[in-house]
């Protein structure tokens, strides 16, 4: 794990109405690693995610992706550059089939350009390829028998899996998962976890927000802990779990907070 970090945050600041939501300096995500972003409610994790991926503008900040300054780029441009995110509540396209949901995530589709859209011979070929790859990923996600159903008919956990498959279809360099386990029943969790750990071997760096410390310890290479918008600890799971500042940040929170639903 040498060389340039995949994602490097130099400094990001964002406040709402006088309250500091995010005030982060120096986070580096190594290529090929799995990094967990943890912290109690309101620590600013999802907000940080939103800022990095272009869904929210910070008051000020600089961050680099694959060595390039991407601060201020729009969300879709970042996704095209290889930084793909998922959402806390799985945002699948309910009135598209599972297959369509995944196929459409393919990048660089010529058929999506207006000038080629009407000339079907220009995209028939690539469409067939994308479809094959999509079916592969749907199988990998364990949703094979739902391929032709509308995504709206899927359960919450299944939607999370679909969202994951769809995100991987983008062939991302950095995959940012916002609470990938939220709403997933325990039976599916292991499956989901296993899939996430496979990703680095496919060349994908993973950064994810999570509350469940067991999950986090099991699969992460390193952990970043936030509280009240700031980073309070960085290190391996063992180091962070032992860090008194982290324990203090979580003290006084009911266990329900650590597994909860909203943000």
């Amino acid at each position: 794990m040498t060389g340039e970090p995949c994602l490097e945050i130099r400094n990001i600041e964002l406040s709402f109405g006088g309250v500091v939501a995010v005030d982060v300096t120096e986070i580096a995500v190594e290529r090929g690693s799995i990094v967990a972003l943890i912290g109690p409610n309101g620590a600013g994790k999802t907000t940080l995610f939103n800022v990095i991926t272009g869904f929210q503008r910070p008051d000020s900040g600089t961050w680099l992706f694959e060595g390039q300054d991407v601060s201020g780029r729009s969300a879709f441009a970042l996704a095209r550059a290889g930084m793909v995110r998922t959402f806390q509540t799985a945002r699948v396209f309910p009135r598209l089939t599972v297959l369509d949901n995944v196929v459409m995530a393919a990048q660089g589709q010529r058929g999506e350009l207006l000038r080629s859209a009407l000339l079907h011979w220009r995209w028939r070929g690539e469409e067939a390829q994308h479809e094959a790859r999509a079916r592969e990923l749907i199988g990998w996600a364990g949703l094979g028998d739902k391929t032709d159903d509308f995504a709206g008919t899927l359960s919450g956990g299944q939607r999370k899996l679909l969202e994951l498959a769809r995100a991987v279809m983008c062939a991302p360099t950095l995959l940012m998962l916002d609470e990938p386990m939220a709403g997933v029943n325990p039976a599916l969790r292991q499956a989901l976890l296993a899939k996430i750990t496979e990703l680095p071997s496919q060349g994908i760096t993973v950064m994810f927000v999570e509350h469940d410390m067991d999950v986090v310890s099991a699969i992460s290479d390193s952990i970043v802990c936030m509280a009240e918008g700031r980073v309070i600890s960085v290190g391996t799971p063992a180091e962070v779990a032992a860090d008194p500042r982290v324990v203090e940040a979580y003290l006084g929170r009911s266990s329900a907070d650590l597994r909860r639903m909203d943000q």
Binding site: R80, E112, L113
Partner: protein, 329 residues
Amino acid sequence: MAIDLGSAAIDGLRAAVSVPACVYALAGVGLNLQFGYAGLQNFGHIASGLVGAYGAAISVNEGLPLWAGVIVGISAGILLGFVLGLPTLRLRADYLAIVTISTAEILRVVINSARLQDVTGGPIGIDRVADDFYAINPLPVGRYGVGGFSFNQNTLWTMIIGWTLVALACVLVWRLVRSPWGRMLKAIREDEDAARSLGKNVFGAKLASLVIGSALGSMAGIIFILDGGFAKPEFFVSQVTFNWYLVVILGGLGTILGPPVGAVVYWFVIAVFNSLLTQIVGNDGWGPIDPTDTGAIRFVVVGLAIIALLAFRPQGILGNRAEAGLDDR
């Protein structure tokens, strides 16, 4: 009081295929792309008809041949799509509604104003626009058809060209919608942010829909003035946009054949209704209703129809309730 249903039916059939119906169908295809597929609230669609018609009319008035005028008109429609979309598509949806309706009104008032009368003809408009068009009409002079259901050669020629364009437009939209671009548009309509997270250029797709729809609207405006050969600002008032909304919703939002079906049904029903109402009200009125009120009654009916459709059958004639998705919009 004897009511002649037969002549009312003939009036209806005639209106259902005549030029206004195909104009509404063509403009409807454009609006359906913008609103039905892309989810854009364009309340100024009549403006595309206005710039198309006047682009052509002013060109002809200034001495250009009609074919050049048509190019000018359609280019104006495309330009209008960009002018409307570039500043507003990044804003909230309601703002697009307000800006489009404002722009349509601005354009109409400017064209209507006395100040620019030399160029635009002001409230009187421009005539003799379609001479070139009639000149290439292959149909010999005469009336075609049976009894009340008949048209003169120029109107029939316009109808043929118009409905052909409607068919072509439907094919165009059909191919677009079935392509990856169309799938992307559908996804954008479902969840914009999710589409962005997958690298889709949401702004570009919406702008393209707006521009294509506007181009179709401008063609509709040109066909409309080819029928009589003259353009007047009063043809392009805001109310017409909402007649078009009714047509598109009636036919079925987000379906390919919805707009032509909606246009045909709309004109049939309106014409029959008008015909019957005129017979009933006659010259002396009927109860509290005067002969001069029939136009107003028609608008009341249009308004009620829009409300009733949206409340009870938002998918229209051809649509599919689950697909129509009007429940979340």
